[in-house]
Symmetry: C2
Subunit: 343 residues, 2 copies
DNA sequence: ACCGTGACGGCAATCGTTTTCCTAGTTTCC
DNA sequence: GGAAACTAGGAAAACGATTGCCGTCACGGT
């Protein structure tokens, strides 16, 4: 058989079942009062023609498309994916389909997508992507609700869901304290990056609550392994003693780990090591496997989607919502890989 | 101002411009014969109401939705993303929007998505994802064209676009030969994985064409760094001399690199090293940076999308299409990072 | 003065579905 | 036996946009 020529319409179904179009509609949607026998006959006809109601025509009538747009501002990367997947999952459960739009960090392209999505009458939009700072709102007075996920909108009235990075950094420090370390160093990304500043500040603050401080000012650099290795050199040259390093990313941590080993320091016996992001590629390849802070991006995406659904149904949640991070303990902080309960 | 209450319809525009609905439509679409003054008046009214034509209503009339569905079978991963982005890019250029569906390797979910997409009257579908083997077609006698990207359909009549892995492996071997290596080892993923077998076979075959063979049978294992390190141990224990290693993945290559360095062998002086996938995270973190084979997944996605567009317009390209791989030379095979032209 | 001819725009059908109203039977009950 | 009360299903009006077909002007030519 070749491929089917044309989609069956409800008129085809009605004709085959020997009823009127309206009756067929009622039969398929369980509306109106029909004899069970009629209902079955229509259903059978629909099955036979593999009829699927035209969603476009349907939404023309209902005013809702059960569709949302997802715009990623930067090109889709390691961070956007889980957010995207979490959102897709939550929306799928609400019978919503997702339009994917890759903004590629181009405002023109982005505005084009907004217009396209509006013309497609999406019920709402999710904006995601990575940025060092909050981003300008995607549009003013849009006729549909918008939720910013991972990234946050510069307008505090907009609904943004972002990871609780400060909380994550505090958890990291608390874990190091819990395993008995007090001389902690911090190696992280570039200072102009908001995440780096926030995490460093939170770590410092948490230590201060226990009357402690970092053994040296935070080492700002890049997010890479290379920087991790370099930073260890700086740290060792400074002759400051340290028994733990809190890293701003797993890549940095891995570089740190390699450099420490090369310098003859054992992880975790001499130095406990904790990363950030819980990126499996790094945490698993690290020797030993790396303890890290998980941003729970998939959960964040899911949560953002749920807020969007709520907003669509008339209950918006304006403002900035911090999504909690999770500590994942591996062997770079404790000998056995048993989970250490937090205080 | 609060958010706009409702989307403007063409009737609103017509009323504001003082013309009939049909005239408004003609004015906005450049059809019919209208006075320039009228046209401007309508356009101005549309602008004022920020009118965007309802795409659903429009496609009801035209029969086309300018929409395609993209189904990823496994959960979206490192390989699917570039394919997805390439496709999205090519489709966007054709004014098409993309529905994203994450099949999560669940056939039920997948079938649900196919139904949903059909009810949304997509003009076509792209199926992507990673599998060890060809996959069962997503549906029989679908009323819209389907293109498989990266993954391939078990039905040889379906249009599949897949990387030319054999060609890539041959390029890798050719490069090693070109830089003067003849004692080549091959470390790769699990033997049950089709890619591992194909690449190993192609490498062997290419060597045979020069009257050579691998210094040892291919070492099948996993795709991980850990396996790369282990495999070097096996290789060294075997006392076979080798001056190059062709690895089945960049992760393996990185493990190999670390283990070689630990064993006192210099890369590339003693051993030239080439990976597969050209995954920036690995190639850049590797010391020295890793030469690799790029699958050009983004190009592959773009190409798949173009075939889909062609199929939608009535010119299908049935069958399996191999998308060429690219050699990317870095310092793990040549001292200077200058590009070496291929023979 | 009359007809022909463009130019301009309105009218209405159409796409596929849902939903409201209505009509024609069939019961039911007094 | 006849009116009321249901029941089953049909007819038609939406929903928003496009488009083919017509009517109505104004103008020019004979």
């Amino acid at each position: 058989m070749g491929k089917l020529e044309r989609h069956a319409t409800i008129a085809d179904v009605a004709a085959l079942a020997g009823v009127s179009v309206g009756t067929a509609s009622k039969a398929l949607n369980g509306r109106g009062s029909l004899r069970e026998e009629t209902r079955m006959r229509v259903r059978e006809a629909a099955r036979q023609l593999s009829f699927e109601a035209n969603a476009g025509a349907r939404s023309l009538h209902s005013g809702r498309t059960y569709t949302v747009g997802m715009i990623t501002t930067d090109t889709i990367g390691r961070f956007s994916i889980p957010v995207l997947m979490g959102a897709e999952d939550a929306l799928g459960a609400g019978e919503m389909s997702v339009f994917l739009c890759d903004g590629r960090d181009d405002p023109i392209r982005e505005q084009y997508y907004v217009k396209t999505l509006l013309s497609r009458r999406v019920d709402g939009m999710i904006v995601t992507g990575r940025r060092t700072e909050a981003r300008a709102p995607i549009g003013a007075n849009l006729p549909v609700p918008v939720v910013y996920a991972f990234i946050s909108s510069a307008d505090p009235g907009d609904c943004s869901v972002v990871p609780d990075e400060a909380g994550g950094a505090r958890k990291a420090v608390e874990h190091l304290l819990a395993v008995g370390r007090t001389r902690i160093a911090h190696i992280t990304g570039p200072e102009h990056h908001n995440s780096a500043r926030v995490r460093a500040a939170a770590a410092t603050e948490r230590l201060a609550e226990d009357g402690l401080s970092l053994v040296a000012p935070p080492l700002f650099g890049g997010w890479s392994e290379v920087w991790g290795r370099q930073a260890v050199g700086i740290l060792l040259a400074g002759r400051t003693e340290f028994d733990a390093v809190f890293c701003g990313s797993d890549q940095i941590a891995r570089g740190v780990c390699d450099a420490l080993r090369a310098a003859g320091r054992r992880v975790p016996q001499d130095v406990a090591l904790i990363g950030f992001d819980n990126w499996d590629v790094m945490t698993e390849a690290c020797q030993p496997p790396l303890t890290s802070i998980d941003l729970d991006l998939e959960g964040l995406g899911r949560s953002a989607a749920q807020m969007l659904l709520a907003a669509i149904n008339g209950s918006p949640s304006p403002g900035r919502h911090a999504h909690p991070c999770r500590l994942v303990v591996r062997e770079s902080t404790v000998r056995e890989s048993t989970t250490v309960p937090l205080p």
